[in-house]
């Protein structure tokens, strides 16, 4: 005890807790590993702390995960880059544990360290580590090794490079599907470091192996590699090697593989160039848009805008648009919904005329879709189409769609459309809003469902922000305030809530002249819930209004409420009075 100086006491506790029974304390210590390292000094960190961590690796996964993360930034604490290799052993063990997230983090940290290491150290310690992991007895080590090759490879001498390529090729044919999946996932990264001649031979043959794997889960990941590899190869090679594979994949027996292709295809267009795109990729994509499996069509439909952006407008109109028309009446609502969420983006691509002629009918039919998500998705992207053709062409169809959504049976649908009202208001303009939407906004304040009333109150505030206090004073505030006399106390409560939201937007004058009297009035309500909400609202109004108003109007009202027979009312009135005292003192 005598040895520990007073200022070191916390550090001593921290070190001891590396081995505490309580996992929270161990975690805490591990997260402060850098502090411990600095206290021990660089040399003892290298000679004692790091070996200590290497030995004590049968801890809980949470602790190991934290350790893997900390070690990734540990180079400064062991004495800089020249000593970076001492960090490898503990991370190597972490690369073999059973929990995936720990391994992934350890690999990430190893990559981070490896990227800073000196070339000679990489050859002497990092590459042997990769080789050990790749030859590991358990699949966990081999899985981890796949993610390290792209760091190890560039600094290896030629002979070693050949060996590393051979090892990776072995991993691509491992017995365990988990290892092959990892090899497939990391192939793109590894390929980026391999020299062009080997790329075309070695890497492409590995890629071929993976694309013919009998496990769907491996082929899926090979698809992801297509785009990455395609970008590395020169255009003719890409056309020769990748294009046939992807076209094949687009007709794979497994819908999951086709699904992946549908998601990735647009990324390949640039790699192969315009002509093969037109002759091969467009037909493949059209097939996917017409796939038997709805999941594949969903993925394909979701990429329709991205794909069209790459194509020339003529190709898009000629080949893609007919499919889009079909999809807009697809039997699966999810397909239509996916289409609706992106189709508005096609307007800028196709230009004004084609949009009016071709897309508008599709927009209109989707706006009448029986499935609310489809209509909502169209409405949510209204701004994109507005820029191209203006809103007028749509507004006639929009209104019925909005009204229907506003009155939908499911409150979540109503909630969703309320969220879009400010967007609609800004796109459609004040005039349209006054005529058509104002009444809806008022109606929502009297909804049966609390979440809708709550959202409606918020909506009123956002509208006031959008169009300004003057407009709000004319068009929404009076209607809102009218409802304070509603016989149902829950609706009166909603209005109080709306007032508290509106007040900051409307400013002190309108608040004092129009809003405050209502609130004061409501303090005489017969329902205690209203009264204590009055207390809460008054509290929120104190910072907004003038000090004299607080003294003259708000405080007397609160004092009265603080003598209410109801305990809750007294409580909130008391709280409000307290905060008004604080405001006074600070001013």
């Amino acid at each position: 005890m005598a040895m520990i100086d007073e200022p070191l006491y916390p550090i001593a506790v921290l070190i001891d807790e590396l081995k505490n029974e309580d996992i929270q304390l161990r975690l805490n210590s591990i997260r402060r590993l850098s502090t411990i390292a600095r206290a021990l000094g660089e040399e003892r960190t290298r000679k004692e702390l790091i070996p200590f961590l290497s030995e004590n690796n049968d801890d809980d996964d949470e602790v190991l995960l934290a350790m893997a993360e900390e070690l990734g930034v540990f180079i400064p604490y062991v004495g800089g880059v020249e000593f970076a290799n001492v960090l490898l052993p503990p991370l190597e063990t972490l690369c073999t544990v059973e929990e995936t997230c720990v391994r992934d983090k350890a690999v990430e940290s190893l990559c981070r360290i490896g990227a800073q290491m000196r070339e000679q150290d990489l050859v002497e310690s990092f590459i042997p580590l990769v080789k050990r992991l790749a030859a590991g007895e358990w699949f966990t080590a081999r899985v981890s090794s796949c993610g390290l090759f792209h760091i190890a490879y560039p600094s290896a001498p030629d002979a070693l490079k050949t060996e590393l390529r051979a090892i990776y090729s072995q991993l691509c044919q491992d017995d365990m599907p988990m290892v092959r999946r990892s090899a497939a996932t990391n192939l793109g990264k590894f390929a980026a470091t391999v020299e062009a001649p080997h790329l075309k031979v070695d890497i492409m043959s590995m890629f071929d192996d993976l694309t013919q794997d009998d496990q769907d889960s491996v082929r899926l990941l090979a698809v992801e590699g297509c785009a990455a590899l395609g970008k590395l190869l020169e255009s003719p090679d890409c056309v020769a090697h990748i294009l046939p594979v992807i076209v094949n994949f687009s007709q794979d027996k497994s819908w999951r593989v086709r699904y992946m292709v549908a998601n990735q295809l647009y990324e390949l267009c640039e790699a192969v160039g315009p002509e093969p795109t037109r002759s091969d990729l467009v037909p493949a994509y059209v097939r996917l848009l017409r796939d038997n499996e709805a999941e594949v069509r969903i993925a394909a439909a979701g990429k329709v805008t991205k794909f069209c952006r790459i194509l020339s407008p003529e190709l898009a109109i000629q080949h893609i648009l007919p499919c889009v028309k079909e999809l807009s009446t697809d039997s699966s609502q999810h397909v239509r919904s996916a289409l609706a969420s992106v189709i508005m983006g096609m307007a800028p691509v196709l230009g004004k005329d084609a949009t009016i002629e071709q897309l508008l009918p599709i927009f209109l039919s989707l706006l009448k879709d029986e499935f609310p998500d489809v209509r909502l998705n169209i409405i949510s992207k209204l701004d994109q189409v507005n820029q191209v053709i203006g809103i007028d062409l749509l507004s006639q169809s929009l209104l019925p769609a909005i009204v229907e959504l506003a009155e939908d049976r499911h409150w979540r649908v109503r909630l969703a459309i309320i969220e879009y009202i400010p967007l609609l208001a800004s796109q459609l303009g004040v005039g349209f809003f006054d005529d058509k939407l104002g009444a809806l906004c008022m109606q929502w304040l009297k909804d049966k469902v609390y979440s809708i009333r709550d959202a409606a109150a918020n909506n009123v505030k956002r509208l006031a922000e959008e169009f300004g206090p003057q407009w709000a004073m004319q068009h929404i505030v009076p209607q809102v305030l009218d409802m304070i006399n509603n016989p149902h106390y829950l609706y009166r409560m909603t209005i109080l809530h709306a007032i508290s939201l509106l007040a900051p937007v409307m400013g002190p004058e309108i608040t004092c002249s129009n809003l405050l009297p209502l609130v004061i009035n409501a303090s005489k309500d017969r329902v205690p819930n209203i009264k204590f909400n009055v207390a809460k609202v008054l509290q929120s109004l104190i910072p907004i209004v003038d000090q004299s108003v607080v003294e003259k109007t708000i405080r007397p009202c609160l004092v009265e409420l603080s003598e209410d027979p109801d305990v809750d009312v007294r409580f909130f009135a008391g709280q409000a009075l307290e905060s008004s005292d604080q405001v006074m003192m600070s001013s």
Binding site: V13, Q215, K253
Partner: protein
């Protein structure tokens, strides 16, 4: 495929019938001992190597056993198998560990009790010597990791005075001599070191007086940790779980739906089969069992209460309502009775190791199907034909709804399943084989075949006996074969590489070898 090799290696003609011998029993009942309901075994499963065996019981516990006879010599088991000398060893197991997998629960929304009974256990890929398994009750699947952990004994703490100073003068009074009112191991509520900013400065060489704790004891013990819980995905009772060969997914099946999970993701699953009709009154058929193909990750089979097996291909579509293949035996004309549909219900299906055959068990028979032939089974084995006249009694006491499991040997040459009176039967399914052995789950498995029971005086009473629900008295059929509805052998498993069977008789686990 290993199974395939062994079939080829077998001599021409059907293999000789096996001579079964008793090997081991765990949890044997002493005479007159009452069986506790919670101790009754409800699931048995060997792992892929056959080095471990797991059982689950009605009390929600999982018990693990490990093989002892291969551990003590250096030769890998694979090589041993190739050595061609008469096997002097047979698999022997010892108790390894146990843990409480499931607890009884109550579903407050549906006012339903959820039993803790383990319905199925499946082993997953081992890694780093840690064992992984899935266990399920009616509603919830859990993923377990069983691993040896070091028992930590820490010494050489910075702040433990009894160790740090060592003269014993201030022994065991660490609190009183701390410079601050702080417990030695940091139990202090004010966590003083949290104030340590990164700018806290240390001497460049570090502080010599600080020491790292030293772990002294290296004893280990087994710890089971629940890594993931896959819950709230089944409206009906889960009857099967099955791992995929891709090592990352598994399925769970209840009466009407089959869901696909990723082992790493417990908060979402995909529904791949849904046989629930729009109107529940139209319900005629439920799913009774489901299993993935042992090597094709896209294929799975499920059985139904109408006696059919459907093979589906996950590649075809996301929701596999239409099957790729249907295996059904056409009903023999004129044989229809009230019980036909009930006894046709399949209680269990298993793929053979090579994936070509599927074994199914219905109430009266075992059937072996070739997945390349959907016109009918390639073989049918009568399990307890003598019960056919008794179906009425069996219906009255609900025994007709008992769910017997079935299993295949690793080489695919034999099949086995259980029956009443703690009997189980082993059949040879190689072409030309007539092997059909009846064994009893006791220390003398062949007793049944020597014994010729003759208690004719009971037979009359058994016919006229008023049948009660859950009748406890053992019955005796017209031939004098006694049978006991209450001692049923539902669960059994065949060792994946050797001729060894583990079976459950109530709370006892019996092991046999040949």
């Amino acid at each position: 495929m290993n199974g395939g090799d062994e079939v080829v290696a077998a001599p021409a003609g059907p293999p000789q019938p096996l001579d079964w011998k008793f090997s081991q029993v765990f949890g044997e009942r002493t005479a007159g001992e009452e069986v506790q309901e919670v101790d009754i075994i409800s699931a048995i499963e060997f792992d892929k190597t056959g080095d471990h065996l797991a059982t689950g019981d009605r009390g929600g516990r999982v018990v693990l056993f490990e093989r002892t006879d291969t551990k003590d010599h250096g030769v890998p088991r694979r090589d041993l198998e190739r050595i061609d000398y008469p096997i002097c060893r047979h698999p022997e197991f010892r108790y390894k560990t146990e843990f409480q997998s499931h607890e009884p629960e109550f579903d407050y929304l549906k006012s339903l009790e959820i039993e803790e009974k383990i319905n199925k256990i499946r082993w997953c890929q081992t890694a780093n010597g840690a064992l992984f398994l899935l266990s399920t009750n009616d509603k919830t699947i859990k993923f377990w990791k069983v691993q040896e952990k070091k028992v930590k004994k820490i010494s050489d703490m910075n702040l433990d005075p009894s160790k740090a100073v060592g003269n014993g003068s201030i022994a065991s009074s660490s609190n009183s001599c701390s410079p601050k009112p702080c417990v030695a191991n940091g139990g202090s509520p004010d966590r003083s070191y949290n104030d340590l900013g990164n700018d806290f400065s240390f001497p460049p060489g570090g502080v010599a007086s600080l020491r790292l704790p030293v772990v002294t004891s290296l004893e280990t013990n087994l710890v089971a940790r629940c890594r993931r819980v896959y819950a709230h995905a089944h409206d009906y009772h889960i009857n099967s779980i099955s791992n995929n060969s891709d090592g990352e997914t598994f399925i769970s099946a209840d009466d009407l739906r089959i869901n696909l999970w990723n082992l790493e993701i417990s908060n979402q699953s995909f529904n791949i089969v849904d046989v629930k009709p729009a109107n529940m009154e139209d319900l005629t058929e439920v799913i009774t069992s489901a299993e993935f193909h042992p090597s094709h990750c896209n294929m799975l089979a499920y059985s139904s209460s109408k006696g059919s097996i459907r093979l589906i291909d996950l590649r075809q579509s996301a929701l596999c309502d239409s099957h790729a293949k249907l295996f059904e035996e056409p009903e023999a004309p004129g044989s229809r009775s009230f019980f036909t549909e009930i006894i046709a219900s399949i209680s269990d299906i298993k793929f053979a190791k090579d994936g070509r055959y599927i074994l199914s068990r219905d109430y009266m028979t075992l059937k072996l199907w070739d997945i390349n032939m959907d016109s009918g089974p390639v073989a049918t084995f009568q399990v307890h034909e003598y019960l056919r006249p008794k179906l009425c009694d069996l219906y009255e006491n609900d025994s007709i709804f008992d769910k017997f499991e079935c299993c295949l040997s690793g080489d695919g040459l034999r099949v086995a399943t259980g029956s009443y009176s703690n009997l189980f039967r082993v059949f040879g399914c190689a072409p030309g084989s007539t092997e059909a052995t009846t064994l009893e789950a006791s220390k003398n498995p062949m007793r049944r075949q020597v014994q010729t029971p003759s208690r004719p005086s009971r037979s009359l009473s058994s016919i006229t006996r008023v049948v009660r629900r859950g009748a406890e008295a053992p019955g005796v059929d017209a031939n004098g074969n006694s049978f006991d509805f209450t001692t049923k052998l539902l669960h059994l498993a065949w060792h994946p590489t050797e001729n060894s069977i583990a079976c459950a008789a109530a709370n006892s686990l019996y092991m046999y070898y040949a």
